[in-house]
């Protein structure tokens, strides 16, 4: 039986990189969104400019499940290199859409799927002369064909085309013609599928945006003025988005001068060096990078911890170690970031789950960095950073002030306030600082990465060193109360089982929890949003006998961090790990957790 579904199915496009498919496929997704039906689209691309395989997965989900489901209902197979595995991935009863210009032997197909051939190449060759036109219009033709097959309103796509090519009438006309070519072919030769899209009202006022862009906008609203960066996938578009937003929003009226400074540095070491220099001198500064960049920045991050200099690092995580899988997603920098630097050091991490939180935490990070005088990490990943997600609209309270933390001014110094750069004053571990150039005779100090006394004078005295290190721990404890609290979701029934997770896994975990509940398996859930872990995290652990820690890395890094920081018995935390480089799916989570919960051998005795 062919699959039947309304506003709830998965379409996957298999393309060749560099063929212009990503923007066309993105338009396909956006058309459905404009019909009021939520979508979750993910670009799965290679480290390559042209020629290697690339996929684009669009989940149509009226119910609003924005994580990956797992499985494919309709494969749009446009890449002969990956044909066999693409055909194999289709669900039983699913559909295969392909370019039928060249006949393929029956062995290339499957009995249990519906095959839809459209002679795209032949149609293009007949209609267009230029090779690039043949390629680009082929993409639009298949979108037209799919619209007819899936009942997508053609007028919505026409509107999107006219928005995309605004002011270029000739291009709009040509694209609309190609769109109609595909639609008309289907009307003449094929019939609509049992997978259908129908206009709904489930998108609401949500926006559709990449996490990198959202984080960059957060940096603008958070008052960042200095950005230093080095190109690295998947973080590059964050710095580029910051540049674009600044050009729009941060120009001084009348003079047309920039209220920001952006430097593309020679490497990641210089990037963080510039950030720390700017932070030392009282500007809000950040860099955007990925795992290999964190490795290079380690020495400076340690300096920022010990010399207490504000800095913000957006780490858009990718597959590691080493160069790893540069265009695939993982959550595998947690430990490297949390404990970055030699000697005893630790750094707060913010863990956004979607672009909305990338914006919020992107601006909050600068307040925290100034307040805590240390490096704050915002841990995105490729899935959130480089894919457009449906997310709640950005919000800003105009009465909000930037929290510049404890800074002594000229007037404070003039009034005779005692200034010790590393002096504990308020019992929260946070000392006061002065900006360079504040006062002719007071408040000057020498910053160094070597040990010094509370008045910033060089000292190798053991007790002085220990006193300072203990104060830094108190400061870290202060951070625990300032970072975003975890979000708890309780099962419908009282249970001693729980899950802990974070970041981009969130929508897939929620969907999996619903599925597990249907199967009679009830779990309380806690989404961790920051490190150092607030007390609620350990209260949740204490309140459950068996906890599954779901994350996208091999070694269970969140689990390790929880065990280490909370002194938790490791046997109480079971790792559920997905780290093949593709975003985690709801099906993976529900089946892994179900297997672990129902396998008696792995279930520890529940203490009542």
């Amino acid at each position: 039986m062919p699959l039947e579904a309304l506003n709830d199915f998965v379409v996957k496009f298999a393309n060749v990189n560099g063929s212009g498919s990503a923007s066309t496929n993105g338009m396909f997704a956006k058309a459905i969104l404009r019909m009021g039906v939520p979508v979750a689209a993910r670009n799965i691309f290679p480290s390559n400019i042209q020629g290697l395989p690339t996929w684009f997965e669009v989940r149509i989900t009226e119910a609003g499940h924005l994580g990956r489901r797992g499985g494919v209902d309709l494969m749009v197979a446009m890449n002969p290199q990956t044909w066999d595995r693409d055909v194999a991935e289709i669900e039983a009863g699913g559909y295969l859409f392909y370019d039928s210009t060249k006949p393929l032997p029956p062995s290339k197909f499957r009995e249990d799927i519906t095959v839809l051939g459209v002679p795209l190449t032949a149609m293009c060759n007949a209609a267009y002369q230029l090779p690039r036109e043949r390629q680009l219009f082929k993409n639009i033709i298949y979108v037209g064909a799919l619209a007819a097959l899936l009942d997508i309103e053609i007028g919505v796509i026409e509107t999107l085309l006219s928005e995309q090519f605004a002011g270029k009438e000739r291009l709009i006309k040509a694209n609309v013609a190609a769109l109609h070519m595909g639609r008309d072919y289907v009307a003449e030769h094929l019939s609509p599928l049992r997978l259908r899209v129908r206009r709904a009202d489930k998108v609401g006022d949500r926006i559709y945006v990449e996490g990198n862009a959202a984080a960059a906008l957060g940096a603008v609203y958070g008052g960042a003025t200095v950005c230093a960066w080095y190109p690295i996938t998947p973080s590059t578009s964050l710095a580029e988005a910051f540049t674009g937003y600044c050009e729009d929003l941060r120009i001084e009226p009348r003079t047309d001068k920039a209220r920001y400074a952006i430097v593309q540095a020679e490497d990641e070491i210089a990037s963080i060096g510039i950030v720390i220099g700017a932070g030392w001198n009282g500007a809000r500064a950040f860099t955007a990078t990925s795992g290999p960049g964190i490795s290079l920045m380690t020495e400076f991050i340690g300096l920022s911890y010990f010399a207490e200099i504000p800095a913000v690092i957006f780490d858009v995580q990718r597959g590691g170690p080493s160069t790893g899988m540069p265009t695939r997603t993982q959550q595998a920098d947690l430990l490297a970031a949390a404990y970055s630097g030699h000697g005893d050091s630790k750094h707060p991490l913010l863990l956004p789950a979607d672009p909305g939180e990338c914006f919020e935490m992107g601006s909050l990070a600068f307040d925290l960095a100034d307040r805590l005088q240390t490096t704050i990490f915002v841990m995105l990943d490729l899935d959130i950073g480089m894919n457009e997600w449906l997310t709640k609209p950005f919000e800003w309270d105009d009465s909000r002030k930037l929290d510049r933390g404890k800074v002594m001014t000229y007037d404070d110094l003039e009034a005779g306030r005692d200034f010790g750069r590393y002096l504990e004053v308020d019992g929260d571990g946070i000392p006061y600082r002065t900006y360079p150039g504040t006062h002719p005779t007071k408040g000057g100090y020498f910053t160094r990465g070597t040990s010094r006394n509370p008045y910033a004078r060089y000292s190798e005295e053991g007790s002085v060193y220990v006193g300072n290190m203990e104060r830094l721990l108190r400061k870290f404890d202060t951070a625990r109360g300032l970072v975003p609290a975890p979000i708890r979701r309780d099962a419908k029934r009282a249970t001693r089982d729980g899950v802990i997770f974070f970041g981009s896994s969130t929508p897939a975990v929620h969907e999996a929890l619903d599925a597990l509940e249907h199967r009679g398996l009830h779990l309380d859930a806690l989404r961790v949003r920051a490190y150092p872990f607030p007390d609620e995290v350990f209260a949740f652990v204490a309140a459950h006998d068996r906890i599954f820690v779901i994350e996208q890395n091999r070694d269970g890094q969140l689990r390790t961090l929880l065990i280490n920081e909370g002194d938790i018995d490791p046997s109480r935390l079971t790792a559920v790990l997905h780290y093949d480089g593709t975003p985690i799916t709801a099906r993976f989570i529900s089946s892994a957790v179900e297997a672990l919960m129902t396998d008696r051998r792995q279930v520890p005795e529940a203490a009542e």
């Binding site: 001084e252 209220r259 952006i262 020679e266 720390i276 220099g277 700017a278 360079p436 060089y458």
Partner: protein, 351 residues
């Protein structure tokens, strides 16, 4: 990096500069370098230059990397903020500090290990960006703090204290700075204060990337026969191409030299460099000529000193980036946060 503060007693009649500061107001902690170290002479020259220029000490930010030379910012300008950063990375930290507040004067102090080995990349890139700073390398050709290893500026064929001959080519930071686009390039000698102080004054008045390579003998590890960075060697092979006086813009210009030998050069801030030629045909406005001259003299074993290149019309990084005139670190939410209305528009464009 001393914990000894200098006694504040001084002669009641010490001369004050235009700001009412004495020379002592530009001093720092007691140096912990070896007696006779060239670096201490450079610190003294910096103190003298800032005093003579009437600079408010707290408006100077002094940054350094790691090494003997990088310790020295503790020994001058005690009321200034200083930052002893990480090895070889002072240039990036200085760049960031400069971006945050364009109104301070930035003095980067580094050594040959810090700038020619671990930090060669950051040295080059900070200069090619035109960061408005004075970058001084206190160049002794040796690793002092780790006791006597060759540095990358050691000349090929020179001999270490232990008798080892250096077989690697030496890096000439002056040539590199010229190639990277530095707009003020000079070389001097820690033992020649009469030459060094005016160079520091002119470099501090320059807007753009100013670089001074200051040969500074290491009395402990590189002051023996066979070294090309010893006091004796440098004195014997020093070829000064010019002598210079810096005249602040408010002072009347007086010419001490015979006409035809002295070239006045006006800088951005109105100060005038009176450049007295010693080498007849040397032209410090010719970057390519300077490079060629340096190479030819170096081949003869001579150390060319003086003002080697100057572009008085230089642009700096802030100019290239088009930043506002107010220091970025003084901007508040009013200038920086676009507000809820702008966000509502952005939201609308993302649907």
């Amino acid at each position: 990096m001393t914990y000894i503060t200098k006694p504040q007693l001084h002669h009641p009649k010490l001369a004050e500069n235009a700001l009412g500061y004495t020379r002592r107001d530009y001093e720092g902690s007691v140096s912990t370098l070896c007696a006779g170290c060239g670096h201490d002479s450079i610190s003294a020259a910096i103190i003298q230059a800032c005093y003579e220029l009437d600079l408010p000490p707290h408006r100077i930010a002094k940054l350094s990397g790691i090494g003997c030379s990088s310790k020295t910012p503790d020994y001058f300008l005690g009321n200034s903020h200083g930052f002893n950063t990480v090895h070889g990375r002072m240039p990036s930290v200085l760049t960031g500090a400069n971006l945050a507040n364009r109104d301070l004067i930035y003095l980067g102090v580094s050594g040959d290990g810090d700038s020619a080995s671990i930090g060669l990349g950051q040295f080059a890139h900070s200069i090619r960006r035109g960061v408005n700073m004075l970058y001084i390398v206190e160049n002794n050709g040796v690793y002092g703090l780790t006791k006597g290893q060759f540095s990358a500026t050691s000349d090929k064929g020179s001999k270490s204290k232990k008798g080892v001959i250096n077989h690697d080519a030496g890096i000439d930071l002056v040539s590199l700075a010229l190639q990277m686009g530095a707009t003020f390039v000079a070389r001097s000698f820690s033992g020649d204060k009469a030459q060094l102080v005016p160079l520091i004054k002119a470099a501090l008045s320059h807007r753009g990337a100013a670089f001074i390579d200051c040969v500074s003998p290491c009395v402990q590890f590189n002051n023996h026969a066979g070294s090309t960075k010893s006091y004796d060697y440098v004195r014997e092979h020093n070829e000064a191409v010019n002598r210079m006086d810096l005249i602040p813009h408010r002072d009347a210009i007086t010419v001490d030299y015979a006409p035809g030998e002295t070239v006045p050069v006006t800088q951005h801030d109105g100060s005038v460099l009176q450049l007295h030629k010693l080498a007849a045909h040397y032209d410090p406005s010719d970057r390519i000529g300077a490079l060629a001259y340096l190479q030819s003299r170096q081949a003869l074993g001579e150390i060319v000193t003086g003002l080697l290149f100057l572009d008085p019309e230089a642009r700096d990084l802030h100019e290239n980036l088009g930043t506002v005139s107010a220091p970025l670190n003084t901007l508040t939410e009013r200038e920086l946060t676009p507000g809820a209305a702008a966000l509502a528009k952005l939201n609308a464009s993302l649907r």
